[in-house]
Symmetry: C2
Subunit: 365 residues, 2 copies
């Protein structure tokens, strides 16, 4: 390397960036269902390494209109974090309720190795995590899932449960019928038997798995106690921040509850309705075989999902592993890399007078 005479950014200065457009290309080249299943393997592999991870509740900046969060974690070799916002009023203003991006970096030298959009990737990892949990908790041979809330997460959940859990039928309900119609349309070639329902009761009828995924930022009762029979697995996704829940408390009291990271779920999940000492089981312990998951045909299991930093880490790790083979990324010169690390000033000075300083990705003169 002839760094002394080469003022173009060195390889060390470059960080691969996966844009929204390139993430869509990645999803479409692998196939949504297969990609979710592959991410599910990464999520499960990282849950099995649970004790290695630095775990901390997300760092949240709350305002009247929403929240901006940073979700960092590390396995000791790789560090990752996600930036994610949640602004319920955004949809009415033509903005996304949730947008996200994330970074992976090397722990040994602190250099970022991936910068990626994560709005799409979060949808994939959320579905992957739900499906991994259900693989361990849902009744064997579950074939029918009722899904209440047919928003942005709906189709990803449907495909995840088909691919990872083996369901063949999905029963859809949303208070907004156009959301259900959208999901029916999008899932028309999925291989699933897709049934639009006129009520939540109709959607859960005959289902072995019930997924709730609504978006209101408030205490709501999407499921009442009488709608949940013995033996059901509930996959509760929408209760994911303080003041936002979906299930009637009586359902929680009849369920065995499984969570990602108790300190975060106690604040954000359905269990914010319960006393702080209500018994929970950590999902990683079920996956590792340390404690049993489903123990009887009559048991109601509840995955109280809020989304945890390790799942984003797993998804970013997956994308990073796929980079070279798929080649859907650009390099950004994000890191200053002077020839002499002590000579940052000189690097800037020389860049002003070097006529050969070429344009490259991430630049505009």
């Amino acid at each position: 390397m002839t760094k002394a005479t080469n003022l173009n950014p060195s390889k060390l200065a470059m960080v691969p960036f996966v844009s929204v457009d390139n993430m869509m290309k990645i999803v479409n080249s692998i196939g949504t269902a297969r990609m979710i299943a592959e991410i599910a393997d990464y999520v499960e592999a990282d849950f099995l390494r649970w004790k290695l991870f630095d775990k901390t509740p997300r760092v949240a900046a709350h305002s009247d209109e929403g929240v901006i969060e940073l979700m960092p974690t590390s396995d000791g070799e790789t560090y990752g974090f996600k930036y994610v916002n949640g602004h319920p009023a955004n949809m009415a203003r033509g903005y996304q309720t949730v947008t996200a991006f994330g970074v992976l970096a090397r722990v040994d030298n602190g250099y970022p190795v991936l910068f990626s959009e994560m709005t799409i990737l979060t949808a994939l990892r959320t579905a992957a995590t739900s499906a991994v949990a259900a693989k361990h908790l849902a009744p064997k041979d579950a074939k029918v899932m009722g899904m209440i809330g047919n928003g942005a997460q709906c189709e990803f959940q449907a495909l995840a449960f088909k691919e990872v859990v083996g369901i063949d039928t999905i029963r859809l309900y949303d208070i907004d019928a156009s959301a259900t119609q959208k999901a029916v349309r999008n899932l028309s070639n999925s291989g699933l038997n897709v049934i639009a329902c006129k009520s939540a009761e109709e959607a859960v009828a005959g289902a072995q798995i019930v997924t709730t995924c609504t978006a209101d930022k408030q205490y709501a009762t999407i499921l009442t106690d009488n709608m949940i029979g013995a033996g059901i697995h509930i996959n509760a996704i929408g209760g994911d921040c303080p003041g936002k829940t979906e299930l009637h408390k009586d359902i929680l009291l009849r369920s065995d509850i499984f969570v990602e990271y108790p300190p975060q779920t106690r604040i954000e999940g359905e269990i914010q309705q319960l006393p702080d000492d209500h018994p929970l089981t950590e999902l990683w312990k079920v996956m590792s075989g340390e404690v049993p998951g489903r123990t009887s045909d009559n048991q109601i299991t509840l995955f109280d999902s809020v989304g945890f930093a390790t799942e984003d880490f797993s998804a970013l790790r997956y994308i990073h592993d796929k980079l070279d083979s798929l080649n859907h990324f650009v390099e950004l010169d994000l890191l200053a890399d002077p020839d002499d690390p002590r000579d940052l000033f000189g690097m800037i000075q020389r860049s002003a007078t070097n006529p050969n300083n070429q344009m490259h990705a991430g630049q505009k003169s």
Copy 2:
């Protein structure tokens, strides 16, 4: 806008990105000294709005080899954070000790509005903050600064103190003579009288301001008590993480100490050598006139600088304000922006079949 038929990323999906190369273009088009002075105005303006800011110590992930930190803050309208690593062993391996990047976002909708390199920008804001502090604390008519440690921050400090404080002479010393030679070379056209010294004692002789900026991650004694006479202002930059200090404790005991954010400085600054109740003055109170800065000709003032999130926020805010007029950035499609926010899945599906999906910045097929 015809979003329904236009699958190219909408304006809402795009986030301006300032690469290292473009940051150098910005610095060179404005001029380093002038840009530091302009950032100093932003830093001071934000210190004067101190009570508005969400303040929290940085979120650090420590390892044997270094640290990766996230530094978030918000003024209620705008949110910002910086990612920064510190790995002292990096230099010997051909990597930067510190690299950084940052983001600004709107609090009301959570959308990022700027993504920027911050290795260069941090150097500028650190120098700007030192100079702003010295403007309030250094002896009137200070003309000579001694600078111990001539690494990456050295020239920025020199220009900042020339531009903002009015010094005309800088006396340089580093245990590595080649670092001093580098700084002498880089400052040859700065308008400063630049003097290379053979010892720290020689560098501080006759100086009204002493800046310490060394990089070892350990307790060190760059300045001993006998080197600091009455009336000196000390600008201590290098003591900026737990276990890293530069000044002998006796100097601290003779000084009036000024800090950015006490909860962070108590952990990271020179004052980690002192009891937790040692009296301090917050810099913003001096700037606002709430408490006096320098009160006598004999007083030793010490700015125990560790770098705080609001300073990065100020620097990012400055860059954001300059974007349109300077035009040194590219747009990245970082945010998924489906026509119907509930139809993220459909957006991905349609992108696979749309032949008109154009290439744009941040993409590679």
